[in-house]
């Protein structure tokens, strides 16, 4: 296919190429060139000029003010969030607040802290109950920690005498 014929046709649209393939292309181009562009009419053009005049009279915003248009603000915010998101995900630690616990865990914790076991620690504790608690804990500590015997007052005195 000799493209020179087609190139000549582009300069002189009345001289169609001889080559059948080029002729087909030229015919298609001619078909595209003959497309009718709709004329919207005089009323439209008068209205067009009026609308254009209105737009041209609008003051052009200074550069810095263009940043305060709603669209620009929205876009900038969205972009900021997209950029910041990977950093936020990387730096955030696991949430250990009560809100992050399951309902079962919350029930267990609630039962633990609301239990009567902790009531003796409250200031409203009855005197008899407090005495009982002290006795119990004393016995408990003596039984459980033989080290208490080491701090026996007599034992201390004997040691001091020997040293003296």
């Amino acid at each position: 296919m000799n493209t020179h014929d087609f190139h000549d046709f582009l300069d002189h649209p009345d001289q169609f190429p001889q080559d059948p393939t080029e002729l087909e292309l030229a015919t298609m181009l001619k078909e595209l060139s003959q497309e009718t562009i709709p004329d919207p009419g005089n009323d439209y053009w008068n209205q067009f000029n009026h609308r254009l005049q209105l737009r041209l009279q609008e003051p052009k915003l200074p550069f810095w003010k263009q940043w305060f248009k709603p669209g620009v603000i929205f876009f900038a915010t969205a972009l900021g969030l997209v950029v910041a998101m990977p950093f936020t995900l990387r730096t955030s630690k696991p949430d250990r607040t009560l809100a992050s616990l399951s309902s079962d865990s919350l029930i267990v914790i609630s039962e633990m802290f609301d239990s009567d076991l902790w009531d003796p620690l409250s200031p409203e504790l009855a005197d008899s109950e407090l005495d009982h608690l002290i006795e119990t804990t004393d016995t408990l500590f003596e039984d459980s920690f033989p080290a208490f015997q080491f701090f026996d007052s007599d034992g201390w005195d004997e040691d001091l005498k020997h040293e003296g």
Binding site: E24, L25, M28, P40, R51
Partner: protein, 196 residues
């Protein structure tokens, strides 16, 4: 004889260019009506380019408005390296390309007068076949590479010479011809592949 015709055509173009430059100078001196004269002179051409790219009246209307607003705001920077017409049509082409690239072209045809409706009423079958073929052609054109599409769209505008297309596209006449030729070949292939 041909030489005389060519000389007359070049003379007419030169006069046209000089008139435009005079109007631009008057506008820059503060005469607003000079810009209105330029709008009245080129609004149909700008609309035609926008319509060729979008095939949609509402989009073509918006693009024509945008082109003149941009020209109004940038006329002080117009360097007269090219003619005012070329400069203006370059703005229109770039805006149209950006619109088609963004893929936001509306499907409705707005208030555009339907050019084929009358013909369809007179010869329904033939017109429908022609309408369908045109529709396929335009759909195939959208799939062309951008430079080929730009060259083909501008060249297929009536009265647009290769030199004018080259000036708008800021390339050589040879590049325009090669782009149009390749565009037509690709268009043919696309239509054949669709019909199979």
């Amino acid at each position: 004889m041909i030489w005389d015709q060519t000389t007359a055509m070049h003379h007419a173009i030169r006069t046209d260019v000089d008139e435009d430059i005079a109007q631009v100078a008057r506008f820059l001196e503060g005469e607003e009506s000079a810009f209105t004269s330029l709008v009245n002179k080129y609004r149909k051409t700008v609309y035609a380019i926008a319509f060729k790219f979008t095939h949609n009246h509402q989009e073509a209307d918006d693009l024509t408005q945008d082109t003149f607003v941009k020209a109004y705001q940038g006329l002080a920077k117009f360097r007269k390296d090219s003619s005012f017409k070329t400069w203006l049509l370059r703005i229109a082409t770039n805006l149209s390309i950006n619109t088609t690239k963004s893929g936001r072209i509306r499907k409705d045809s707005g208030e555009a007068p339907e050019c084929d409706s009358q013909a369809i009423q007179i010869r329904p079958l033939e017109s429908m076949i022609a309408f369908e073929r045109k529709r396929k052609l335009y759909q195939a054109m959208v799939k062309l590479p951008p430079r080929q599409r730009e060259a083909l769209t501008l060249k297929s505008l009536q009265d647009m010479r290769c030199q004018e297309v080259a000036d708008i596209m800021e390339c050589s006449v040879g590049t325009v011809k090669a782009n149009v030729f390749n565009a037509m070949k690709n268009l043919k292939k696309l239509l054949e592949s669709e019909s199979v």
